[in-house]
């Protein structure tokens, strides 16, 4: 990133490319429904609240964006440093580590993701966890650090 929040040329290229992917009909417009998807494609992890604040829509065909509209959105999210870290996640999952052995119940992990914060639905949770988590042992436990490492290595 350049100074004063200016995007580097390389970033601009990446954003333009991602934008073009979500510009399905090649008209130079992206449906505001895809703002979140597109930001994430660009290795950012905005919260649902942030996406909504920046104009993301829950339904299609409510609003269209041009690339000029999208670049500042990307810049804003990229600038935001308050986005969590591996250490934060470890602290939270430790709360569920009753035996202090670095493990927690898989079912509990599924549960907190569905019940707290910006809730996810069951298929969504199952899809991501099946790829990121180790297999549960006989007591239904998983080690949580490998999971978080994988999650955080993705970006």
């Amino acid at each position: 990133m350049g100074k004063d929040g200016e995007l580097s040329a390389r970033d601009q290229e990446r954003v333009k490319f991602a934008f073009s992917i979500y510009d399905f009909d090649g008209s130079g417009n992206m449906d505001a429904f895809y703002i979140g998807e597109c930001l994430r494609a660009l290795n950012l992890n905005p919260t649902l609240a942030t996406i909504e604040k920046l104009g993301g829509k829950q339904r299609k065909k409510e609003k269209l964006l041009k690339i000029e509209d999208f670049l500042p959105i990307f810049a804003t999210v990229k600038k935001d440093k308050d986005a969590g870290s591996y250490e934060d996640f470890v602290e939270v999952l430790k709360l569920y580590d009753k035996t202090e052995s670095g493990t927690m119940m898989y079912a509990e992990l599924e549960h907190i993701l569905q019940a707290l914060g910006e809730r996810m639905d069951k298929p969504e949770v199952e899809m991501v966890l099946s790829e990121l988590c180790d297999k549960e042992d006989e007591e239904g436990m998983i080690p949580f650090e490998p999971f978080l490492k994988k999650l955080c290595a993705m970006t």
């Binding site: 986005a83 969590g84 939270v92 707290l116 991501v128 999650l151 993705m154």
Partner: protein, 819 residues
């Protein structure tokens, strides 16, 4: 229902769902909608309290949307709701918001989920399930044996095991104080406690001896059918209501093995023997005798087949749906054998029981215009005298023309019909009461094993506070007992708190909570107090209800803060004469007939005759009655007694018993169980909010919480605190090795005010409500981090998808190029 322990065959059912909140339920509970700033309790007539959402505040008024409407409530009526962490909390003293609504809600939430036991600090609260839950089996008992209270879910077994362990470790006598209203389950819980001690303290040698001799464990349990048959009755609320209080001491030998037991009973309700309300019944025994289970019985006792022939015992119900009198008779009859009664004794007891019924049928008429009664037929008297082996002519003569002592001489006194009828009733009541005491004494003889008694656990099963529309002498006695027991509790709690604060090195001076009740206790028991004035007036020949009332008012009205004028009673209710401000509420008392009740006079001439009857048991039950005062044989029984020793008033005896009880209790480490009747329909899973709130007030649970709130009710050991709250300052806390230091750092980072907490040696102490605030901070922080984690997970999913889209795009371009 009389709960005889029927040993079942096969494995015990799984008690888990009746003890623990399931994991699934916990998850549901944790996700309940909660907003610390908006969620609140507001009063509701039907439910007690309902959940509402605060819409706004204007001065002292809070606008709350609850139950489908938005209303303004006064600020002090709106109570805070505990965070989801505290849902179905096992110990309510851990709640961060210790308000009435939260206490009621927590008890209710647990009760409807079949969890009948909940702790409230030192109290174990038990709500009558009105259903048999499989939580008293051997399998359930195993969960509790040798476990600490906080390792296992709340249960009377946990308290029992705690008492047993404390006894062994500290070599100190223990007591279990079980109180509650009629129908709340005191007696059932008492039985479970005793059964538990019988199990843990059973001698292991038992198996090898196949002798028919009964084990002590069985004998202790077998005293129950007898005590229940003679001391329990159907009341409006409870089909098997104990109409007496009891203190059972279970003695243990040097190695903690059962070594014997004894029972002391308090204040059997005598009035029931000769009169019952429409929906009530007299003592079970009368109907058991009439049940035909023992074939020779009615013949021996000269009883008819019609219970209504005996009006003393047939003024209300004569059968009870939940009780099979014949079956109960089988238990009673067998229990007599197990307790070692001879067949003669057994028959004597039955005969005396029947005699009470016969007495009610003795008829008298007035002779002419004279104030003199005479027999109206002697048929009943003949039957009576046949079963009691005494002379019928004497009996009638003694009733109608008793001898009284005037100066140094005996003269006969003519009695009118009303006087005679009254004295027959009084005698019937006295006979039954004395029979009951005799049975208790016999039980005690059986439970005296001769083994070495080193230490004991006492179980007190006694009625709780009674505030009725009409409160008489009996209510004063029971309420005073409860006032004393509450003071005992308050003091005990104070001592424990002090000790804990001292151990933790915390500077904080408590006042002795027991002193809160001192004024009321003094009003009743001190010289010139209510009981001593009653005593004095009972001795004074010319005293009347009126003079008693005046004396009370002269001495206390306007002088003792706990002595008040009663509020005028509503129409149709009897007026009260004075009121006492007890901790549980202000109780209006009506003092009509107290003097008479307190003197409890008997026709001594008839007593003398019975003392010489051919029924040895009858002789025995009157053994300690002096009979004709100053009679020829009076000097024979120890002239040491002070004058008037034969004349002990009820209040005097009661005071003496209560003092003895308190002395015993003070020498023990107490454990407190509070039984609650959830509704009056005997419906499982239903909580009548007003009824339960009233009991929580009366039984001291709310009083205990009031005391809690004064200090630092919530406490956590440092490791637990750090574990739960370190996410509030994870980096700073991680830098500290020491758990206490880490905890201090966390509290520093969140800038908690100094008066809101204290750092002890091993624990951090919080004022009421602070944990709720910490929970709120923690929830916010947790939600934030989890939201981030979710965002990262969503990012992961999106990027996978993006990769797919990218590949498709490339494929498309290739296809286009190739076209």
């Amino acid at each position: 229902m009389p709960g005889h322990i029927v040993k079942s065959t096969g494995p015990d059912p799984d008690p888990t769902e009746f003890l623990y909140v399931s994991l699934e339920q916990k998850r549901i509970d944790q996700t309940k909608a909660y907003d610390a700033k908006k969620t609140c309790w507001v009063p509701s007539e039907k439910e007690g309290f309902i959940l509402g959402e605060i819409q706004g505040t204007k001065g002292d008024l809070v606008s709350v949307a609850a139950g489908g409407e938005t209303k303004n409530y006064k600020k002090e009526l709106v109570q805070q709701v505990n965070p989801p962490k505290f849902e179905k909390c096992e110990d309510m003293s851990n709640l961060t918001y210790l308000n009435e609504a939260s206490v009621l809600y927590n008890l209710k939430a647990r009760y409807v989920h079949k969890l009948i036991y909940t702790y409230s600090g030192l109290f174990c609260v038990a709500i009558n399930p009105y259903k048999r839950y499989p939580i008293y089996t051997e399998r359930a008992a195993k969960i509790y044996m040798g476990k600490r209270r906080n390792e296992v879910p709340p249960h009377i077994f946990a308290i029992s095991d705690g008492a047993y362990m404390d006894m062994l470790q500290n070599h100190e006598n223990q007591s279990m104080l079980i109180t509650g209203e009629s129908g709340a389950g005191k007696t059932e819980n008492t039985k479970k406690v005793i059964a538990y001690f019988a199990t843990v303290g059973a001698s292991t040698k038992k198996k090898e001896t196949d002798k028919p001799k009964q084990s002590l464990e069985d004998q202790i349990v077998q005293t129950n059918p007898i005590l229940e048959a003679f001391g329990n009755a159907k009341t409006v609320r409870n089909d098997n209501s104990s109409r007496f209080g009891k203190f059972i001491r279970i003695h243990f030998g040097p190695s903690g093995k059962l070594a014997g037991a004894d029972i002391e009973t308090y204040l059997l309700e005598k009035a029931r023997v000769i009169s019952q309300q429409t929906l009530e019944r007299s003592y079970h025994m009368f109907y058991q005798v009439m049940s035909n289970h023992v074939d020779y019985l009615k013949k021996m006792c000269l009883l008819s087949n019609e219970i209504h022939d005996y009006h003393f015992v047939s003024q209300g119900k004569v059968t009870v749906d939940s009780i099979d009198d014949a079956e109960e008779m089988a238990f009673t009859h067998e229990a007599f054998d197990i307790l070692g009664f001879t067949s003669v004794e057994k028959d004597n007891v039955y005969k005396i029981t029947a005699s009470v019924m016969h007495f009610g049928e003795m008829k008298f008429k007035q002779r002419g215009r004279e104030e003199q009664a005479e027999p109206d037929g002697t048929e009943v008297g003949e039957k009576l005298c046949q079963i009691l082996s005494t002379d019928v002519g004497e009996l009638y003569k003694n009733f109608t023309k008793p001898k009284i002592k005037v100066g140094n001489e005996f003269v006969t006194q003519g009695r009118n019909k009303d006087q005679v009828t009254y004295s027959v009733g009084a005698l019937a009541k006295a006979i039954y009461d004395r029979l009951f005491k005799f049975l208790v004494k016999k039980c005690n003889e059986t439970l005296e094993t001769g083994q070495k008694r080193v230490i004991f656990i006492g179980v007190l099963d006694i009625a709780g506070f009674e505030i009725f529309d009409f409160n008489g002498f009996e209510q004063l006695c029971i309420n005073f007992t409860n006032e004393k027991l509450q003071q005992f509790f308050n003091h005990h709690m104070f001592v424990l708190e002090q000790e804990e604060y001292k151990r933790e090195g915390i500077q904080w001076t408590f006042i002795d909570f027991g002193l809160d009740l001192q004024a009321c206790i003094e009003l009743i028991e001190k010289p010139l107090g209510i009981l001593s004035i009653l005593e004095e007036e009972s001795m004074f020949p010319k005293a009347s209800d009126k003079s008693f009332e005046e004396k009370l008012k002269t001495n206390h009205l306007g002088k003792s803060p706990n002595f008040a004028k009663p509020k005028p009673a509503g129409s149709g209710k009897a007026d009260a004469h004075f009121a006492i401000v007890h901790y549980a509420g202000t109780v209006p008392y009506n003092l009509n007939g107290w003097l008479e009740k307190n003197k409890d006079p008997l026709n001594d001439t008839v007593v003398d005759q019975l003392k010489k009857s051919g029924n040895e048991t009858m002789q025995e039950i009157f053994l300690d009655h002096p009979g004709q005062s100053g009679g020829a044989d009076a000097s024979a029984k120890g002239g040491k007694r002070a004058k008037g020793s034969g004349f002990q008033t009820v209040s005097n005896m009661y005071k003496e018993q209560l003092n003895n009880l308190m002395t015993t209790l003070r020498s023990t480490a107490p454990h407190f169980i509070r039984c609650i009747i959830p509704n009056e329909q005997k419906a499982p899973g239903v909580i009548d909010a007003a009824l339960v709130m009233h009991q929580l007030t009366c039984n001291g649970v709310l009083e205990g919480i009031r005391i809690c709130r004064k200090g630092f009710p919530n406490r956590m050991i440092y490791a637990d605190f750090k574990h739960r709250y370190c996410i509030l300052a994870s980096k700073q806390a991680a830098a500290q090795d020491d758990e206490k230091q880490a905890s201090a750092t966390i509290l520093e980072v969140i800038q908690l005010e100094a008066d809101k907490f204290r750092m002890g040696n091993t624990k951090v102490f919080f004022r009421s409500g602070v944990l709720g605030y910490l929970e709120e901070l923690r929830d916010d922080r947790l939600a934030k981090i989890i939201t981030w984690m979710q965002s990262w997970l969503r990012g992961f999913a999106s990027r996978k998808n993006y990769k797919r889209l990218q590949e498709q795009r490339i494929a498309l371009i290739i296809v286009q190029r190739n076209l």
